[in-house]
């Protein structure tokens, strides 16, 4: 049937995260932003709390949704929808904190999708003792100073040396890159081969020749670490080649196919953008409610009312697109176009929401204080139209699926 009401579980998850966000996370949001860090004690508490939600189909709510090969068409589930709803709510509380959550992070999907059973056991195993041992993160190292959206342009090189591989290159803008216990590093055996020449390695922290470069100063999401990683004659054992040699020989079902699962995370990023946009919208709405006298005509009032409504419905439109994309994923229906549409629409709608919200509040909107996070959301949101594929990259993905024989521009 046609239905837009959240299931009971989703509603509980949403309300639970919302309460935590309002009373615990938001009051510390600005401090985390200034200190460039989420306190470890908080992360530990949050993980305990989150494990309460981690029952059956909510298990992936803080992960990246169900990978396509794990989906069973005969048993449609709501994992992807639930994950997105949880992500929106957590981003509504604090988007940077969401990215700081311990776990494999963006490194998870490639290891899960391509890793051999031994690799999965070994690399995911590192996250099993976090309750007692230190917190651990994984990371994903693809972007280079000269290759962002154009992934085929990466120049980090790898060559075989006996049983090992030698990697050279620089990776930039790596989320949790400095703290990660391992990072999935992409390199090429021969740049002229394009994507077919790519190899992915799980490079562990402390490997000789693997250094952390500079930690970036960013406009927003400042509580989250973004690092440069440097590989200088870095020797990586053969068993760290993701999927083993065989994965790169297959044309179908191998490494390239697995990489497509990355489309999965786009609706999640869309959901996060909606969360930040909604936070800004609600702030402006309440500001108008508290500060404007509704009983007498205020010259700008009607215009403000329409502007508020426009912000909100654009966010709602973007939300409907990520609902749609995650619904298709749960139904095991290809959703690359819909995933990209949700991401492109949400990024723009949320940026507009944050800009408009500041304007509506006037000077108040730009002040930074514990109770006024508008200026922070304004700084946080921009990257949601950049990472996981910029708005233009999403439009390329969409274009290829609506126009005939469009291979590339």
């Amino acid at each position: 049937m046609i239905d837009f009401v959240l299931s009971k579980k989703q509603q509980e998850l949403k309300e639970g995260v919302n309460g935590l966000g309002r009373f615990v996370i938001r009051p510390m949001s600005l401090e985390m932003d200034r200190n460039h860090e989420v306190p470890e004690a908080f992360l530990r508490n949050f993980m305990k709390l989150a494990s309460g939600f981690r029952s059956s189909d909510v298990a992936e709510a803080f992960g990246e949704g169900t990978p396509p090969d794990k989906r069973d068409p005969s048993k449609p589930n709501e994992t992807n929808r639930t994950a997105a709803i949880g992500a929106e709510e957590l981003a509504w509380a604090d988007a940077a904190m969401l990215l700081c959550m311990p776990g494999p992070g963006l490194g998870g999907p490639p290891v899960r999708g391509t890793g051999t059973p031994e690799q999965k056991k070994r690399f995911f195993g590192m996250f099993q003792d976090m309750e007692k041992g230190p917190l651990q993160w994984g990371a994903y190292g693809l972007t280079e100073p000269n290759a962002g959206s154009d992934v085929a342009g990466i120049r980090s090189s790898c060559r075989k040396d006996g049983k090992d591989w030698i990697i050279n290159g620089r990776k930039c803008f790596i989320t949790n890159g400095a703290r990660a216990c391992w990072t999935v590093i992409f390199a090429t055996i021969d740049p002229s081969l394009g994507r077919a020449g790519h190899r992915a390695f799980v490079v562990e922290k402390g490997t000789p020749g693997f250094f952390v470069g500079k930690i970036e100063e960013k406009i927003g999401l400042r509580a989250n670490e973004t690092a440069e990683l440097v590989l200088e004659d870095c020797r990586v054992p053969g068993e760290n080649l993701l999927g083993g040699e065989a994965a790169y020989e297959k044309k179908e079902g191998g490494f390239m196919t697995a990489m497509k699962t990355f489309d999965n995370t786009r609706p999640l990023v869309a959901a996060m953008a909606c969360g930040i946009g909604r936070a800004a919208y609600e702030y402006a709405r309440d500001f108008v409610k508290d500060n404007y006298v509704l009983s007498r005509p205020i010259p700008r009032y009607a215009a403000l009312a329409e502007r508020l409504a426009r912000i909100n419905r654009r966010l709602e439109a973007a939300r409907s697109l990520y609902y749609r994309a995650t619904y298709l994923a749960d139904m095991n229906i290809p959703n690359a176009k819909e995933a990209s549409m949700s991401k492109a629409a949400a990024g723009q709608a949320a940026i507009a929401a944050c800009i408009d919200a500041i304007e509506i509040c006037g000077a108040h909107g730009s002040l930074s204080s514990e109770h006024a996070l508008l200026e922070k959301w304004f700084r946080d949101i921009k990257v949601y139209d950049i990472f996981e594929g910029t708005g233009n990259i999403q439009r390329i993905v969409i274009s290829k699926r609506i126009l005939t024989d469009l291979k590339a521009f």
């Binding site: 819909e338 126009l403 005939t404």
Partner: protein
């Protein structure tokens, strides 16, 4: 649980209407436009499919299939010819008005005739707008005064859809001059009432096949039972009127989604086949990205319309259903305008010529946006609900002194 899966029955109905729209309506849109009407053979076919009473509750003599079914089929009609959607027989806005503002008995009595086998020429209409705003006070110029046991209606109404075709009207008039918009009333007036005169037909920008015109009430006498006075759950007339407009607007919004989809489809087709500088124009990013943006418009407004229809059907809180409706309608009307505008633009000069349907879609889109509460009025409604402000009828209803609409 969030789901985008029409039921089997809905899909069947949607499929047969889609077939009718594509196969029967679409090839003849220019003919309807020239005729400024939908011919009888077409109306007969549509009437046999039972399109007119889909969303009317069973208790009021309708099919009781809900708004979700209604928006599914209205999108299909809109994707062929939004003008024809207004020109097919049926009660149209009259049904929503009488269901929301009248009692069950009134609705049953007034709507029964539309289900009869030979009713393919029967129309209902709503007379809401007036040629000029009332400059003296808030409320309508048209008045309803007590006359014995009944009422006497006097005044001019404008922008009435199917004015000359309807055999019965819901006429809005001022009952209590001192109460502003809170003092309005709604009355059922039959076409054969001696005090009802059909006025001039409007020449409009778009939706040529649909009839828009004026009516005049020259002291039309109606019995007391003709007054619609039973908004359910004791709500006031403003609230009930708002509900009527919301449900009616969703139907118009669904047609707008159809128009937007049609515009997107032909624009996409054109960009696929039209070559310039040695390749299809769709292979240029500026063109392809425009198409991508318009597809987001089409799909997101469709989902918002579905969501609002579901909110009413599922009996969610009225406030939630109203807000979802306001968002859906504003988004759909604006998206439709963008899609049809870009459709003309992407066609270049040929988009401006009447040989192609693109120019018609653009005119229809603008006209559609005035056939229910406008995006601006819907935005006012959404924000008033969000901040808990009183629903000022001058802002949230399409009053003639703010922004007049076709009903």
């Amino acid at each position: 649980m969030i789901a985008f899966e029409p039921t089997e029955d809905q899909a069947l109905m949607q499929g047969s209407v889609a077939q009718f729209a594509r196969g029967t309506l679409a090839p003849r849109v220019r003919e309807f436009e020239r005729l400024r009407a939908v011919p009888e053979d077409i109306r007969k076919l549509a009437h046999e499919m039972g399109i007119g009473l889909v969303a009317v509750p069973e208790s009021c003599g309708g099919a009781g299939l809900g708004l979700a079914t209604s928006v599914l089929i209205e999108e299909e009609l809109g994707a062929a010819d939004a003008a024809a959607a207004f020109g097919l027989a049926g009660p149209h806005a009259f049904a929503a008005a009488i269901v929301e503002l009248g009692s069950e008995e009134q609705a049953r009595a007034e709507l029964a005739a539309f289900g009869e086998p030979d009713a393919h020429g029967r129309f209902g209409a709503v007379a809401w707008s007036e040629p000029k705003p009332n400059k003296e006070r808030a409320g309508f110029v048209t008045t309803a005064a007590r006359e014995g046991a009944g009422w006497k209606l006097t005044g001019k109404k404008a922008f009435v859809v199917n004015a000359a075709l309807a055999d019965r009207f819901v006429v809005f008039a001022q009952v209590d001059a001192d109460k502003g918009w809170g003092g309005i009333g709604a009355f059922v007036v039959a076409r054969d009432n001696p005090g009802l005169k059909i006025g001039a037909r409007h020449d409009t920008l778009g939706l040529d096949a649909a009839y828009f015109g004026e009516i005049e009430l020259t002291g039309a006498l109606v019995p007391d039972e003709a007054r619609l006075t039973a908004p359910k759950d004791g709500g006031d007339i403003v609230r009930a009127t708002l509900r009527f407009f919301a449900k009616h607007a969703l139907v118009v919004a669904a047609r707008a989604v159809g128009v937007a989809r049609f515009a997107f489809d032909i624009a996409r087709e054109h960009c696929d086949t039209r070559k310039a500088f040695g390749k299809p124009i769709g292979h240029f990013q500026a063109v392809a990205f425009t198409l991508a943006d318009r597809l987001m418009d089409v799909e997101s407004s469709r989902w918002l319309v579905w969501r609002a229809a579901h909110a009413w059907d599922a009996g969610l809180k009225e406030k939630e259903a109203l807000r979802a409706t306001a968002q859906a309608v504003a988004q759909a009307l604006e998206s439709c305008m963008r899609c049809t505008d870009d459709c003309v633009g992407l066609h270049g000069g040929s988009g401006f010529i009447r040989d192609l349907v693109a120019e018609k879609l653009m005119r229809d889109a603008k006209q559609l946006a005035l056939c229910c509460p406008t995006a601006e009025q819907m935005d006012q409604l959404a924000t008033a609900l969000e901040i808990g402000a009183p629903l000022d009828p001058a802002l949230v209803l399409p009053t003639p002194d703010a922004q007049a609409i076709f009903t």
